[in-house]
């Protein structure tokens, strides 16, 4: 019964056409590609902002106990709060619009990036730093030649996890009232019109993009950071 009910599970023949014509308009909301690029744009913005704040802060916290003591308690308090709990506050501060969405993504991405960066920097072997010191490295050179490359694999893991969360956040934020574009908006709009095939197509696209980006992160990890776990 459920299987035969198109409202639960639409026939494959109704989903495929949506997927194979990604440039044609869907229900007047724009095409799949248009909506996907809007979502990607938002994610990239929020994610890049989060990385720009989290990586320097994490390096500082990892290297200097003073900075760590200063930020640690606040961050530990904020970290368990689900990103979506920030939505009302985001709306109050930034009103409905791109800024609120980017803010939610930022909140979602910043903690994994920050925590991994701190971990990566703390994992730098003291001998690595001392070798460079005895070879004449300045503080700045220690940072660029030892700390950054040494922590890079762990920071990369943080970016990968952070991106995954960003992607979830953008879809969730677009489902909420306000936005008029994006993949989250598209599937919610399709729900309102009872177009289950569009919802399924949208979910597939969301999944594929998420997977593709994650595979990209993984490929870089393998190519550049293969040394991690092999060091001795």
């Amino acid at each position: 019964m459920i299987v035969n009910n198109p409202f639960f599970l639409p026939k494959l023949e109704t989903v495929i056409p949506v997927l194979i014509s990604p440039f044609s308009d869907i229900l007047g909301t724009g095409s799949l590609v248009q909506n996907a690029s809007v979502s990607i744009e938002r994610v990239v913005l929020g994610f890049a902002l989060a990385a720009a704040v989290a990586i320097p802060l994490g390096i500082g916290m990892g290297r200097f106990a003073v900075l760590n003591d200063f930020f640690d308690v606040t961050l530990e308090l904020l970290r368990p709060v689900p990103p979506l709990a920030w939505v009302p506050l985001a709306l109050a501060w930034f009103k409905i619009g791109i800024v609120s969405i980017v803010f939610i993504i930022f909140i979602g991405a910043i903690f994994p990036i920050l925590l991994n960066t701190v971990d990566g920097v703390r994992g730098i072997k003291n001998t690595w730093v001392e070798v460079s010191t005895t070879l004449g490295a300045s503080e700045r050179q220690i940072l660029t030649k030892v700390v950054l490359p040494g922590a890079a694999p762990t920071i990369w893991t943080g970016l990968r996890v952070g991106f995954g969360i960003s992607w979830m956040c953008v879809v969730a934020a677009e489902i909420l009232p306000g936005p008029t574009s994006g993949l989250g908006y598209l599937i919610m709009y399709a729900y309102n019109l009872g177009q289950i095939n569009v919802i399924i197509a949208g979910i597939i696209v969301i999944g594929v993009i998420g997977l593709a980006v994650d595979q990209g992160f993984k490929a870089v990890e393998k190519r550049w950071f293969g040394w991690r776990g092999l060091e001795r």
């Binding site: 070798v131 005895t134 070879l135 004449g136 300045s138 030649k145 490359p149 040494g150 950071f225 001795r232």
Partner: protein, 253 residues
């Protein structure tokens, strides 16, 4: 080049604010191109002493000077070789060796030439593009030696560099080190807890006491190199040193 340690002492304060004396009144004058081994029971502060000479730590009192210039921080005239885990796993062998020169801003072709020269010297020609994890323990220490030599220091400080190697590799590395030393004419300060190693390598052995480390005796090792480990002479010196070390070792250990 002369390296002089005058009246070097070092104290630490423990967690409950007790003052622990690690090194006490160490004075030593090292001649140019001399091979000195610092020998002592574990916990006697020999690594701390080497780190003070390297400028990585400071003495609580007393001073270290090279040609009359006090050492307050790491100097390009000295290079240190650590026990292990000192190579950068994300850099190839050659990139590891070039690091010191890179930090000085030397251009890449010159760095490459230098790396090639020193890798050849330590017997690692052909391994330039390998990564540290692809090398054996002995080879990794050869890279560390090449990296230290590349900055052309006059003094090499070695902190139990062969301590993590198996006995056979260790013996071979000792031979290699002597060959390199004779070729490059460096002054070497070599920390070890192996009597055998010290007798095989050193011109003079500085024996430290149990904490706080003081100089118990400085033993001059006779005999031309390469020394025969099984010779009568070697055996006598060894026995003398072993007796001394035994006196110093904690009876519980």
């Amino acid at each position: 080049m002369t390296l002089v340690l005058s009246d070097v002492s070092r104290t630490f304060s423990s967690e409950n604010a007790e003052i622990i004396e690690a090194l006490s009144h160490i004075s030593l004058s090292v001649n140019n191109e001399e091979f000195i081994c610092i020998l002592g029971p574990s916990g006697c502060g020999k690594t701390t002493l080497l780190r003070i000479v390297a400028g990585l730590e400071s003495a609580s009192s007393g001073s270290v000077s090279v040609d009359g210039v006090p050492v307050t921080r790491p100097s390009p005239r000295m290079a240190m070789i650590f026990q292990e885990y000192s190579l950068y796993p994300w850099r190839t062998v050659e990139e590891n060796v070039m690091l010191g020169l890179e930090l000085r801003g030397m251009n890449k072709p010159d760095r490459m030439t230098a790396a090639e020269k020193f890798l050849d010297l330590v017997g690692l020609k052909g391994f330039e593009k390998r990564y540290p994890h692809e090398l054996s323990g002995g080879m990794r220490q050869r890279v560390a030696v090449a990296r230290a030599l590349a900055i052309e220091p006059s003094i090499l400080l070695m902190d139990e560099p062969f301590g993590a190697l198996d006995a056979q590799t260790r013996n071979r590395m000792q031979h290699e080190l002597l060959r390199i030393w004779e070729k490059t004419k460096k002054t070497i300060l070599f920390v070890t807890h192996s009597v055998d190693e010290a007798v095989f390598l050193a011109d003079r052995i500085v024996v430290l006491t149990q904490r706080p480390g003081r100089i118990k005796e400085i033993v001059t090792i006779p005999g031309a190199r390469p020394r025969e480990r099984t010779s009568e002479e070697f055996g006598q010196v060894r026995r003398h040193l072993l007796d001394m070390i035994r006196e110093e070792s904690d009876p519980i250990q």
